[in-house]
């Protein structure tokens, strides 16, 4: 059976290539039909904030790539409730359908994957 991989993305979207490069790991694995999950944690939750305009910073919009995740077979998408709350983001107003997990849920999530990469 294929090993499952959880990618934990902790980087804000417009501070360099890190958020995009975390996403690229997920998209590459999805293309191979591997069991993948993606968790947005800490500043990574800002990737899910709605109505962002990175074109003003001459950056490509990450949202289009994030929305492609289910098409690449990455349907297990999660976000940390505590990270959202700390940053004043509304769990009901995010730009991507994600499961909101409390801290105990995060522990259980990490536990059930075979491998984890945190970027």
């Amino acid at each position: 059976m294929a090993k499952s991989l959880l990618i934990i993305s902790r980087q804000a979207p417009w501070s360099g290539p890190s958020a995009r490069e975390a996403l690229d790991i997920a998209l590459a694995g999805g293309a191979f039909d591997l069991p993948l999950g993606m968790l947005f944690l800490d500043d990574g939750v800002f990737q899910l904030a709605p109505n962002q305009q990175p074109a003003l910073l001459q950056q490509k919009n990450l949202a289009a790539n994030l929305q492609a995740l289910p098409m690449f077979g990455v349907e297990d998408l999660f976000v940390a409730a505590s990270s959202l709350a700390e940053r004043g983001l509304d769990p009901d107003g995010l730009g991507l359908p994600v499961q909101v997990l409390d801290d105990a849920g995060l522990t259980a999530l990490i536990d059930r994957f075979d491998q984890v990469v945190t970027l």
């Binding site: 902790r10 505590s82 522990t107 536990d111 059930r112 075979d114 984890v116 945190t118």
Partner: protein, 96 residues
């Protein structure tokens, strides 16, 4: 399954350690290396909480010694022990 979490950044200017401790499971281990070992400095605000992890707390020996941090509650490990530690847990989660 159990996870060995690995952190290399100082907790005094970065939230990785705080985030990790919030989701650390009861069977998980924590290995501090690089500037993260400053979290073990005697008298620091971080050390008492970390010591409650007991035998699940590890630190890279060279990083402790280089920074003259001693008498910690962490198990000091060299590289061969780090390799074995990574196999004693089901997976390794490095907080890059």
């Amino acid at each position: 399954m159990s996870t060995l979490h690995v952190i290399s950044r100082s907790p005094f200017g970065d939230n990785r350690l705080a985030s990790c401790l919030r989701l650390l499971g009861p069977h998980d281990g924590l290995l501090l290396c690089g500037d993260a070992v400053y979290a073990l400095n005697p008298g620091s605000v971080t050390v008492a909480g970390l010591n409650t992890l007991g035998p699940r707390l590890y630190a890279l020996a060279e990083d402790l010694e280089a920074r003259a941090i001693s008498d910690t509650g962490a198990t000091a490990v060299d590289y061969p022990a780090f390799v074995e530690l990574s196999l004693n847990y089901d997976k390794v989660n490095s907080w890059l």
